[in-house]
Amino acid sequence: MSDKTSSAFIQVNNLWQQYGDQVVLERLNLSVNEGEFCTLVGASGCGKSTFLRLLLGQERASRGQILLGGQPLAAEPDASRGVVFQRYSVFPHLSVLDNVAIGLELPRSPVLGRLFGGAKRQAREQAAQLLGKVGLGHALDKYPSQLSGGMQQRLAIAQALIMQPRVLLLDEPFGALDPGIRKDMHALLLELWRETRLTVFMVTHDLAEGFSLGTRLLVFDKVRLDPHAPNAFGARITYDIPLNSDRRAQRAAVDALPAHLSGKLQPAL
C-alpha cells in the first residue's frame, strides 16, 4: 500500500499502541513525503487520534517507531510539530496578538519567556502580519473568549504556523463549527498549505471534508475482530487513497523548481 522509500519524510515502522489489554493500533506502517496533506478518517475509537498523539509526541508507542526525516521522533511535543485541537487550542489569558507572538517569544527568551523593547515590537509586527493573513487583523486586541468558534480556530492555526513547523497536526479542528464557517476554514487551510511546504495530518469525522481537503486519505479500521474480546486487536490503515491529483501535481511542480525560484513562491511567514 505505502511505498517504503528510505527517503520518506515521515516513516512509521510496525507501530503498536496498547493501553493495558486494549490494543488500539497494531502493525501500522506508513510513509509520507514532505508536503502531503493526509486526512485521517475512521469510526470513533479506531485510533486515528491516538496516531495523531503519537505523531505529536504526547504519547509513546508500545512498539515500533516513527522517523521524522530519518531521525526517531522526539518523545515530547516540540516546535517542529504544530498542533490545532478541536477545543482549548488558544490561551485565554492572552490577547489575539500575544497568542501568536508568544510563539516567537518563548524560544528566544529561556529565562523570562518574554521579549522586551524592539525585539517585542518586531515579534508583534510579525504576528500581526500573519494574523492579517488568516483574517484576524481587526481583532488583535481582543481576548479569545470574545471571538467566535471559527475565529478561535483561525487564531489557533496562525499560532501553530508562526513557528514554521515542518508538520501540522489537526485533531478535528473544524468539528465544532457551522458548515458555512467550515467551508471558509477549508479555503484558508488549503491556501496556507499551498504557500508553505507543510506536511499536514488532519483527523476528521467528516468524510466529505477528508476527501475534498487531502491529497491522501488514510482510513483507519480493524482488520481482525474477535467478538468475544473486542479490544484484543487494534486498527491499522486499511485504505490509502491518493486524492486531488491536480493539487499533488502542482505541489510536485513547485518542488521541482530550482530552490531560488521556489523560495520566492513561498512567502516567509
Partner: protein, 271 residues
C-alpha cells in the same frame, strides 16, 4: 406567577438589600433603649451615643498614658500582621500549589502532605508557635501563614490541574520549557484564582489574627476587645467588631475589583 420567576426590580432590589441590615439595627436599638430605660447603668446593649463617646475617646483623643490614639494604633498593628500573614501565605501557597499542580514529580510528595497539613487545626498548635517563635510579632504572623497556606496551596493545585492539557501541549509546540511554560501559561492562569482564594480565606485569616492577639499582644484590635471585655465595655467592643467587619468587607471588595482590573479575560474565559 411562580415565585422562582419573580425578580426584584432595580429600585426594589436596593431596598431588599438594605432591609435586613435596617431590621437588625432597629431591633438592637429598641432592645438597647428598653434596657437602658430600665437601668441607666446597663452595659450589655449600649446606646449609639455611648458607643460614639467610646469611639471619640479611643480614636480621636490621645491616650493619657501612652500618648497614642489607641484605635488607630490597634488598627495599624492588626492590619500589618494581617497583610504580612496574607502576603507570605499567598506567595507560599502559589508556589506550592503550582509546583504540586503542574509537576507530577513534585505532586507525588506534596499533595498528600498538603492534605494532611490542612487538617491540622491551627489554633491547636498556637502554643507551639508561641514557644518556637516567642510572643512577638512573628508567632502571630506565623499562625495566619500556617492556617491558610495549605488551603490556598490545595486550591491552587486544583486550579493548576484544571488547565486543559491541550494548552500545555500547545505551549510546548510553541517552544516553551518547563520553566517558561509555568511562567507564561500556568502562573497567569492561576493568579486570578489566587485572588479569589484569598477572598475566601479572609475570614479565617481574621479569626487567627484575633485569636493570636487575644492571647499574647500589647496592641491590636483583638487585643483591645479582649482587654476591655474584663470591664464588660460593650460600648468599645461593638464598634471594634463593626470596624473589623467593615475592614474585612473592604478587603474583599478590593480583591474583587483587583481581579476584574488585572485579569479582564478571566470572567469571559470561565464559560
Amino acid at each position: 406567577m411562580r415565585l422562582i420567576n419573580r425578580h426584584p426590580e432595580r429600585s426594589g432590589r436596593l431596598m431588599l438589600v438594605l432591609l435586613p441590615f435596617a431590621l437588625l439595627l432597629f431591633a438592637y436599638f429598641i432592645g438597647s433603649a428598653q434596657r437602658l430605660g430600665d437601668n441607666p447603668n446597663d452595659k450589655l446593649l449600649p446606646s449609639a451615643s455611648q458607643m460614639s463617646a467610646a469611639v471619640e475617646r479611643l480614636a480621636f483623643t490621645e491616650d493619657k498614658r501612652s500618648g497614642h490614639y489607641l484605635f488607630w494604633q490597634d488598627s495599624a498593628a492588626s492590619l500589618k500582621r494581617l497583610a504580612m500573614g496574607l502576603g507570605i501565605a499567598a506567595v507560599a501557597g502559589l508556589c506550592l500549589g503550582i509546583a504540586a499542580g503542574s509537576l507530577p514529580l513534585l505532586s507525588a510528595p506534596l499533595s498528600p502532605l498538603l492534605t494532611v497539613l490542612s487538617m491540622v487545626p491551627p489554633l491547636a498548635i498556637l502554643p507551639i508557635l508561641f514557644i518556637v517563635f516567642g510572643l512577638g510579632e512573628l508567632s502571630k504572623v506565623m499562625l495566619i501563614v500556617i492556617g491558610i497556606t495549605p488551603v490556598l496551596a490545595r486550591d491552587l493545585e486544583q486550579r493548576a490541574r484544571e488547565i486543559p492539557p491541550e494548552l500545555l501541549i500547545k505551549a510546548q509546540t510553541l517552544g516553551a520549557s518547563t520553566w517558561t511554560l509555568i511562567l507564561r501559561v500556568v502562573l497567569p492562569q492561576t493568579l486570578p484564582r489566587l485572588l479569589i482564594a484569598l477572598r475566601l480565606v479572609l475570614g479565617s485569616a481574621w479569626l487567627f489574627l484575633i485569636a493570636a492577639e487575644a492571647i499574647a499582644a500589647t496592641d491590636g484590635l483583638g487585643y483591645r476587645i479582649f482587654l476591655v471585655r474584663r470591664y464588660m465595655a460593650m460600648d468599645v467592643i461593638l464598634p471594634y467588631v463593626a470596624w473589623i467587619t467593615l475592614l474585612a468587607w473592604l478587603m474583599d471588595l478590593g480583591l474583587r475589583q483587583l481581579t476584574r482590573l488585572a485579569f479582564p479575560w478571566y470572567e469571559g474565559a470561565k464559560v
